[in-house]
Subunit: 222 residues, 2 copies
């Protein structure tokens, strides 16, 4: 394994350990010592990648951003739905995404700047809504930045409510219900009529992404 590959892998090991420790204790009570023990790396290795607990938390927070890119759709409203439904699916299945979302909502993490995920999600959704607007999918009164803020904020709460009430069992249903309440006031009915809002949309998009990725990285045989 090349030196660089090894460094990337170590960084990932440390981030995964940090995610587990932050998820268990919250930001305030988490300690670098416990993250070290959980990761099973040397102090030197950890400090090579992260200078402080805050940097570790920022690393976990920004892991969500890796997943914001999706294959483009002709219908930009569908892309908005897909990016949200996929995130809901990842929240249920990927501990790193879960840790990031919880950190961003950790209102006790007073000295941690938690604005990153809100702002990045805001950027991505604003961009998609602007494209949707440019191709005439949106109702005339819509301000993409404002709608994007509402989507990001309300999603954060709906996932927290789903976690508190059902341990994420009803997450896809709650997210769909949110979108069904919001989208008719944002998107033309004629566009909405062909948007897939099914409960399995998240896993469908995830599978599509994983398969594309496998094809790209597959080594041709023979």
């Amino acid at each position: 394994m090349a030196k660089q590959d090894r460094a990337i892998r170590t960084r990932q090991t440390i981030l995964s350990a940090a995610a587990r420790v932050f998820e268990k204790h919250g930001y305030q009570a988490a300690t670098i010592i416990e993250i070290l023990a959980e990761a099973g790396v040397t102090k030197g290795a950890l400090y090579f990648h992260f200078q402080s607990k805050e940097e570790l938390a920022q690393g976990v927070l920004s892991e969500q951003d890796q997943h914001l890119a999706l294959p483009g759709r002709i219908c930009k409203t569908q892309e908005v739905v897909d990016v949200i439904m996929l995130h809901a699916y990842r929240l249920q299945t990927d501990p790193m995404v879960r840790a990031g979302v919880r950190l961003s909502l950790d209102q006790q993490a007073h000295d941690l700047d938690r604005s990153g995920p809100f702002l990045n999600w805001g950027e991505v959704l604003t961009g998609l809504l602007e494209k949707a607007q440019a191709q005439g999918e949106l109702l005339p009164h819509v301000v993409p930045r404002e709608t994007s803020d509402v989507l990001v904020g309300s999603f954060a709460g709906v996932q927290a409510m789903s976690q508190a009430l059902s341990g994420y069992q009803d997450l896809a249903e709650r997210v769909r219900s949110l979108l069904r309440h919001l989208l008719p006031n944002v998107v033309l009915a004629s566009v909405l009529a062909s948007v897939d809002l099914s409960l399995t949309r998240g896993v469908t998009v995830f599978t599509e992404l994983t398969e594309t990725h496998d094809e790209e990285t597959a080594v041709p045989v023979g």
Copy 2:
């Protein structure tokens, strides 16, 4: 002061102290010892009212419920708006409400049942929406329970986003933006046209309530 009054006052002192400690450290890291010190009461007094840290947290969580009742309005949609805008105002101004909301979103509080506020808010808003429906204020497709869940969940997230990005400075604006996105898909346009969604609605309702309360409890002079 009668014995009962003193007990009520002590209970309130303890709850306020608990709210401050939970808000500072989160549920997991908070200790009864620190709550005791913060409240300045005896161990016996504390345990007379609350048997455990969980009971203290449930006490803080349920303090929000005190504030759910509002003077009735002819327009039930306005009552929905008022209860939400008033809650936003209290969140900015009342540390106990703030501590309760944060506890309910504390995803690290694994062994604390945080469903109470979500369910109580759900009940209240479902009830109001059912009344609104009965008097013909709502669009025909609306299911009050489902819309109520969306309102409760999305409010929780919008407040968290406002806290993370602006320390609650933009809370009223974000909540109004949320309602402007949701209500046109729930309420008849003819009803919405006369609903007050102004940014100062929360403080207006609060003042109205406080004045009513003062009149009721005022001791006649002379």
